[in-house]
Structure formats: structure tokens, C-alpha cells
């Protein structure tokens, strides 16, 4: 197996980053990561990201959560079937509250779990690879991997696009 080496280009300006992404993609070079100090819709669009898979997870988990809240209430009232306040053993109307609260709770827990999985966090060795602490400051970064010819091409593209510095990984 060929040893994969990498490069990380550090940029000051967003338009430089977008230009570099476009050229790297056009040159058939695979970009592994684009780092930015802020959420940038332009970068996400340039990377042609698909709609996040978190949305269906939240929806399905919420519905299942609400139903499981109702199921728990039904089971409990059937096990202890005492009429209270003249209401039926299975009083559906007050259980709207239980359904709603458990729906929200499970949907939120699932959303956070999906964020952790999709965002690949927590990660212990975050400092390895192309990450630089300046990326949480005011710098952008593009991380690419490949063979020596691809990296040579990538270096030239990044330099031409206005990279402040280019480091080997």
C-alpha cells in the first residue's frame, strides 16, 4: 500500500479558501477537511455536503419517544387499574402532556447523539493530522492527502490561491 502523505494550507481569507476548494476539486484532489473558525455556509456548499442525516434521526426518535411515553403510561395504569377523579383507567387526554414531553426529551437526546456520531466527536487525538489551534482563531485551513504528484499539484493550487503557509503532515 502506498504511503499517504498530507498537506495543510492555512488561509486568512474566505474567498481564497473557496477558490482553492474549487480548484482542488477540479484537479481531482480529494479534500479531507476544511477548517474554519466559524460556521461558513459557503464552505459547506463548496464541499457539496449532503443534507445532514441528523434530521430524520430526530424525527423518528421523537415519534418513537412519544409513543413509548404513552406505552409506559398505559402499562402502568393497566397494572394499577384504580379509577381516580372519576376518569377512565386509560385517560388519553391528559396523556397528551406525557406524550409531548417524552417526545421532546427523546428527540433532543437523539439529536445530540446523532451530532456526536456524525461530527465524529468526542475525539481524543484531535491535535493529530492537519489541525492547528489557529483554526479556532482567525485562520482557515484545507487538509488534503495523496501521493507525491497530487500533493505537488495541491501545493501549487494552494499557493496560487493565496495560502499564508503550507505545511506537510
Amino acid at each position: 500500500m502506498a504511503i499517504q502523505q498530507g498537506l495543510v494550507g492555512v488561509f486568512i481569507y474566505l474567498d481564497d479558501v473557496l477558490r482553492a476548494i474549487s480548484k482542488l476539486n477540479g484537479g481531482g484532489i480529494t479534500i479531507k477537511n476544511v477548517y474554519s473558525p466559524v460556521k461558513s455556509p459557503e464552505i459547506i456548499e463548496a464541499m457539496e455536503a449532503k443534507p445532514s442525516g441528523i434530521r430524520p434521526v430526530s424525527l423518528i426518535a421523537g415519534i418513537l419517544g412519544g409513543c413509548s411515553g404513552l406505552a409506559l403510561a398505559t402499562y402502568a395504569h393497566l397494572r394499577w387499574n384504580l379509577i381516580t377523579g372519576g376518569k377512565p383507567i386509560l385517560p388519553w387526554i391528559p396523556w397528551v402532556v406525557i406524550f409531548f414531553e417524552v417526545l421532546i426529551l427523546i428527540a433532543v437526546l437523539s439529536t445530540v447523539a446523532a451530532l456526536l456520531i456524525k461530527g465524529r466527536i468526542p475525539r481524543i487525538h484531535y491535535g493529530k493530522g492537519g489541525y492547528r489551534p489557529t483554526f479556532t482563531g482567525d485562520r482557515f485551513g484545507i487538509e488534503v492527502y495523496g501521493g507525491s504528484s497530487e500533493l505537488g499539484k495541491a501545493r501549487a493550487i494552494m499557493k496560487e490561491s493565496g495560502a499564508e503557509e503550507i505545511d506537510e503532515i
Binding site: V38, M47, V108, G137
Partner: protein
């Protein structure tokens, strides 16, 4: 916002995390002492029984219930500012959302303590959880008290996660600038965030969904709390208007508390760039609306007592207006409805001192409102033979004092160890660095 670069935003906001000054240490120590006094009173109450809390038949738990509703209510504006205004893309929330969210968490946590305190045998609080015991006795899922357990625990969990998710990129900023043990601690809680395009993409979606899921909670939680009373067939409690009445009061008091916290914070940390007068003014405008709606609710209670023709309702209102607890009612009217009317003047709502003063009035007024709502109907219901008279005793008063100290204690610690303004959102509100623009300059 006037900050020029992302780096400047980092520096300006992280400046607050420096070494604590002596004034800060003294203030935190005094608040810790106040908290300990409250905790000692609670221990005294456990040792001697609930009789020390001024209980007079048929008046029980008054201050504890008042505090429970009051603190839950205060927490509401945190969710309103962070989630609802996020969905509406209201720019003025950026500077204040982080502190408002933190306030929510502390308030809900303190509120959740009061049902434990008023139980007497606090150690059996877990009986409220839905689990089967050896006699297959289950909790009653149609009881509003169980609604409360679900609503408050959901609200606390959602608020905490929403706040924490918002904090993750900011914790990474601190991690990358810290050294030694703080770096390890912030690194642990930042979960190894690196801010790549994949993380930002999913983060944006998740945050939006969390905001969408938290939004209905603004309406639901205090509605559920209001049903603790509205579902009881006692005049003064059994009102259909209670849910919007409570929710509006919650937002009203929450906005006031945000002002009380942010005005000193803004001055001490020199956050004028991030928390602008315009942000504070927007909150004052919102308080005009919530104050007027409270006025409508007060008026509607009087109207319905007359219009319903229900003698007990009418008598309850007469007792409220003319009885022994009337002072709290009139003070609440002045503080909650009259005081925010001063915000119609631009001069008042753009002056931090007057904003702070009116907010203090509202906080006092909202506590008194919860007090007369809980106390009046419980002390004087259908049967005059059953009536009782209540006045707060030292134990519950000191526990209340302790809860306020605990709240400000937690908030000060938050402001010292975490960024009290969202770094990521402040950066999002700025124009990104563009080479062409720089060259034109």
C-alpha cells in the same frame, strides 16, 4: 458589533476568564455563605419537621410553591431568547443568549430543589419516578404533579444540552489558548472539536433542530406548572386563563432577570461591543408587551369573577382586593404592570440605571404575584370554618434567601469560567474576511 476580526472577538470575550480579583472572591464567598445559611435551614427543617416552616392549617408549602413557580418562570426567558429568537433570526439575541441560557439552567435547577425541600422526607423524592414497587403500585400519569416531573426534567435536560452544544466550539477556542490543567479540562469538555466543515455542517443542523424542539417548551412547561393549580376545583385556582397567564408572567420575570444580570456584567467586563444598548432596549420593548398582557390577565380574573356569577369566585376576588393579603396584590400590580410602562419612554429604556431599576421592580412584583396566587385560595376556600392565616417564618424566608444567593453564586462562577457571550455566534454575525474587500480598503 464593533469587533474587527475573529481574533479580536476571541480576545475581547476571553478577557473575562482571567485570574479572579479580590472583589470577585469576596462576593462569591459571601454568596456561598448565604447559600450555606439556606442549606442549614433546610437541614434544621428536616431535623425538626415541616412545622418550623410556618405551616398553619390549611396553608401549606406557600413559600416553597411560590419559589418553585418563580424560579421556573425566570428560566423561561433563557429558552425564549436562545431558541425562539434564534428561529426568528433576531440579531439582538447574540450578545445575551449565552448568559440567558446559563440563567435558565441555574433557575430550573434551583426550582427543582423546592419540591424536594417541601416534601419533608426529601430522601424519598424518587417515589415520583415511574418505576414499579413491590406492590406493583405505579405513579398516576393523569396527575398534574407527574406532569410536572416530566415537564421540569425534560426542560432541564433540553436547556442543559442546548446550552452545552452551543458551548462546544467556544470551549475549543479556550482549549487552544489555555495551558496546563485548564487546557486539559476545557479540552475534555470541548470533546476534541476541530471545526472542520463536516462538524460545522452537522452542528448547524443539530442546533437548529434543538432550537425547534426547545421552542414549544417555552409554552408547555409553565402551562403544566399552572395546571398544578388550574386542575384543582378551588376558586382562585380553577381558571382556564392560567396557562397563558403563567407563561407570560414567566417571560416577563425572565426578561427582568436577564436585565439584572447583564447590566452589571456588561459594565464590569466592558462588553458594550457585544451587549449593546439596542439589545437591552429590545428586551425592554418585549417587557412592555408582557407587562400589558399581565394587566389583561389580572383584569380578566376580575371580570370572570363578576361575569361568571360564581359566588365563591367573586368572594375570592373580594378577599384578594380587600383581605389581609391585599398589599401583595397591589404591589404586584404596581411592579408588574405600572413599572414597565415607563419603558414607553425611549430615555428610560436606553438608560441602564433605569432599566435595572424597573427590572428589580418586576422581579419583586412577580414573586409577589406567585405569592398571592398560591396563598389566597389555599388560605380561604369554600368553607370559612376552614380558613387559616399565614405569615412567612424565618426558616422558609432564609431558605428563599439562600436560593437567591445560590443563583447569583452559580452565575458568577459561570461568568468567570465560561464565555458569557457566544464566541461562535458573535463571529457569525460579522462579515467574513474577504481579500477583495481588504484590498479595496
Amino acid at each position: 458589533m464593533e469587533a474587527k476580526s475573529y481574533q479580536e472577538v476571541n480576545e475581547e470575550i476571553l478577557r473575562t476568564l482571567g485570574r479572579p480579583r479580590m472583589r470577585f472572591i469576596i462576593t462569591v464567598s459571601l454568596l456561598a455563605l448565604g447559600t450555606l445559611i439556606g442549606a442549614a435551614c433546610w437541614a434544621y427543617q428536616i431535623a425538626h419537621g415541616l412545622g418550623v416552616a410556618g405551616y398553619v392549617h390549611p396553608v401549606y408549602w406557600i413559600i416553597y410553591l411560590t419559589n418553585f413557580i418563580f424560579w421556573i418562570g425566570i428560566g423561561h426567558s433563557g429558552t425564549l431568547i436562545s431558541a425562539v429568537l434564534y428561529l426568528f433570526r433576531a440579531k439582538w439575541r447574540t450578545g445575551i443568549s449565552r448568559s440567558a441560557e446559563a440563567m435558565t439552567i441555574f433557575c430550573v435547577f434551583i426550582a427543582a430543589l423546592f419540591p424536594v425541600i417541601h416534601l419533608g422526607r426529601s430522601w424519598i423524592i424518587y417515589w415520583l419516578l415511574p418505576y414499579p414497587n413491590q406492590r406493583t403500585l405505579w405513579i398516576n400519569f393523569q396527575s398534574p404533579l407527574i406532569f410536572d416531573v416530566f415537564a421540569v426534567s425534560t426542560y432541564f435536560t433540553v436547556s442543559l444540552l442546548f446550552w452545552y452544544v452551543g458551548l462546544i466550539p467556544d470551549l475549543a477556542v479556550i482549549r487552544d489558548r489555555a495551558k496546563g490543567i485548564p487546557r486539559k479540562i476545557y479540552g475534555l469538555f470541548s470533546l476534541g472539536w476541530v471545526g472542520n466543515h463536516r462538524q460545522w455542517h452537522h452542528y448547524g443542523t443539530a442546533y437548529l433542530i434543538l432550537a425547534g424542539l426547545a421552542t414549544p417548551l417555552v409554552l408547555s412547561v409553565h402551562s403544566v406548572v399552572s395546571w398544578d393549580f388550574a386542575l384543582i376545583i378551588v376558586p382562585g385556582y380553577h381558571d382556564t386563563i392560567f396557562a397563558p397567564y403563567f407563561v407570560d408572567g414567566a417571560i416577563h420575570s425572565g426578561l427582568a432577570m436577564v436585565l439584572i444580570l447583564l447590566i452589571p456584567l456588561r459594565k464590569i467586563y466592558k462588553f458594550e461591543k457585544f451587549i449593546t444598548i439596542k439589545d437591552l432596549e429590545s428586551m425592554a420593548k418585549a417587557m412592555i408587551v408582557t407587562g400589558l398582557f399581565i394587566g389583561y390577565c389580572y383584569g380578566m380574573e376580575l371580570f370572570m369573577a363578576w361575569y361568571s356569577g360564581n359566588r365563591f369566585e367573586k368572594d375570592m376576588i373580594l378577599i384578594r382586593l380587600l383581605g389581609q393579603y391585599r398589599i401583595s396584590y397591589y404591589l404586584a400590580v404596581i411592579c408588574n404592570i405600572a413599572a414597565p410602562l415607563f419603558f414607553f419612554s425611549k430615555r428610560v429604556r436606553t438608560n441602564t440605571k433605569s432599566l435595572f431599576t424597573v427590572a428589580l421592580f418586576v422581579i419583586v412584583g412577580m414573586w409577589l404575584e406567585r405569592y398571592f396566587i398560591v396563598l389566597g385560595p389555599m388560605a380561604q376556600d369554600y368553607d370559612p370554618y376552614n380558613w387559616g392565616s399565614y405569615f412567612p417564618q424565618p426558616v422558609e424566608s432564609l431558605i428563599t434567601f439562600g436560593s437567591f444567593c445560590f443563583f447569583f453564586f452559580l452565575f458568577l462562577l459561570f461568568a468567570k469560567f465560561l464565555p458569557s457571550v457566544s464566541i461562535a455566534e458573535s463571529k457569525e454575525d460579522m462579515e467574513p474576511p474577504i481579500r477583495l474587500r481588504e484590498e479595496e480598503r
